[in-house]
Symmetry: C2
Subunit: 326 residues, 2 copies
């Protein structure tokens, strides 16, 4: 073999090698460009009914000065049996000086095996510079209404920023709800209601009691009572000494009428925010958390009142428990 | 040179080549993985004031049976002098059988030079199966209120699905607004108001007139009048024969009081949706488009009433014109 032939052979080999890798490389590049393009354009038909298979859930949690709750919160989430790639998480941290944001940031970036990873995690910071004036006990009732209006704004900010076309359901889960079944999402999805809330209680090693008083039904007395007050007066539960609203609370309805089934559902007129599961379209239509009086309610109860006005139905699970930090 | 040396040389060359490209390829791959990760985690401080530089604008437009308007709409958008990479677009197409969705889809995917490309385009479909019953003229006023409630839901769906943490401003721009200055966004951003609306008129070759009657101020008479009606009665403008609301419309306030400056601003109590510019945080707080009566208003006027209740101020530009299709 003469030297020139050998040189030609080497040149040919090198060129083939370059061409082959150039081809590989450019294919991978265009594949990447395609991946990026899927974020630049998005076409979605929202007429689709809520998906039965592969429904995508957005879990939303407002946090305030709660660094100590973040680990328990994430440990519980990681146990959820619902496929994690169909779950996105959204957090709004407000008025916190205890490192809640940094703690959430580090848990969000935690290295996890593929099957445990959530679809997307969004952490927002938004302060409302509002502290409950603890000394003004005699204004407690009014202070509660102001506090609820701030909470409404923070829930609205979290919802409007994180909800996107891919979501079928939104789970509102308070950071201090520390115990719930790992099958929570599978069960709430299969119940297929517009809005549904489990019963939020607290428990210690030997005692338990109702926690979320905002899951309730109107009664004949409560409806009559509302006719006697100004249309923009705000009502809240848990201040019986100041104001008896005559509502029937779900915390008092466990096993009522001999119905002991865990999935037994009752119609509600208002919900709290400790653990409430909402069909995404209910929020999309405009059922947000009013920071203003709507049918005598603000925040989560106001949300339920708006949802009902828009034709949606609200349900409670009196025998299905989730537990709040005490 | 013995043959074995030559073989060694060739092997060495090929190996180097493989190693070099493997390195190039893997670097590009990890770069891509980084790009994808930026979508999986997002940390945002919403306490930041609205950005003066690099503010990101979301332009939202509901479309219904409007395929014929899509080209003009996009041609106008492409002329905007504000940097296009700081603009995202969101469309909601409802109850359309004329190919509006397909037309929007094709314009969204149009190949454009880098500097003309928008940041992100989202096109949603959501039908409300609602047709104005044209024969029932005697119910025209009631029908208008029903229609506005549907419009409110469609605006809320569009807003809640597309608004994200990156946006500083939202421009509501109706698909049939066919003429406006290319400097619209630069000018509205520099005015730095919570909510601000230019004056929407129509014009032909020799005539012009006011179009958007929903930009208005309350008057002493309108406030007194509202005390005489049920708190949940909905008012709409443009039905003087049925109902005189006593509002002062911005379409009637051009050059009023000798103020001829194009950027002259006046306080408003309600806005329409033809062309309205909103600080994103106003929407995030919960100022959506009520499909229910709020202070006697629904949809865009209701949005303004909620925004005012939340402490935001509403402004109009009586001498700054945008033109509606006639």
């Amino acid at each position: 073999m003469p030297l020139t032939t050998k040189i030609q052979l080497i040149t040919l080999l090198i060129t083939s090698c370059i061409l082959f890798y150039w081809f590989l490389f450019s294919t991978s590049q265009s594949h990447i460009t395609d991946q990026c393009n899927q974020y630049r354009y998005s076409f979605t038909n929202l007429n689709r009914p809520t998906r039965k298979e592969d429904a995508h859930v957005l879990i939303l949690t407002p946090f305030k000065q709660s660094a100590h709750l973040v680990d328990t919160y994430f440990d519980n989430l990681l146990k959820l049996t619902y496929p994690h790639h169909l779950i996105s998480l959204g957090f709004l941290v407000s008025d916190s000086t205890d490192g809640t944001f940094e703690k959430l940031q580090s848990r969000a970036q935690q290295t996890l095996p593929e099957w445990q990873r959530f679809n997307k995690i969004t952490v927002l910071q938004k302060d409302y510079k509002y502290d409950l004036p603890t000394n003004e006990d005699r204004h407690k009732f009014e202070v509660q209404i102001q506090r609820r209006a701030i909470m409404a704004k923070s829930r609205n900010t979290l919802l409007s920023t994180t909800l996107s076309e891919e979501h079928d359901w939104v789970l509102w889960l308070d950071g201090d709800v520390i115990e719930y079944p790992a099958t929570l999402l599978d069960e709430l999805i299969s119940l297929d209601k517009d809005v549904i809330a489990p019963n939020c209680w607290w428990h210690s090693y030997n005692e338990k009691g109702g926690y979320d008083k905002n899951n309730w039904q109107e009664t004949n007395e409560s409806i009559e009572f509302q006719k006697t007050i100004p249309h923009d007066q705000v009502l809240v539960e848990g201040y019986e000494a100041v104001l008896n609203t005559h509502r029937k609370l779900m915390i008092d309805m466990v096993n009522e009428g001999g119905n002991t089934d865990m999935y037994y559902t009752i119609p509600l007129d208002a919900v709290g925010g400790t653990c409430t599961f909402v069909r995404a379209q209910v929020h999309r239509d405009g059922a947000i958390f009013p920071p203003f009086a709507y049918q005598h309610q603000v925040e989560t109860e106001g949300f339920a009142k708006i949802a009902k006005s828009l034709g949606y139905s609200i349900w409670g699970l009196p025998n299905y428990f989730v537990y709040h930090y005490i």
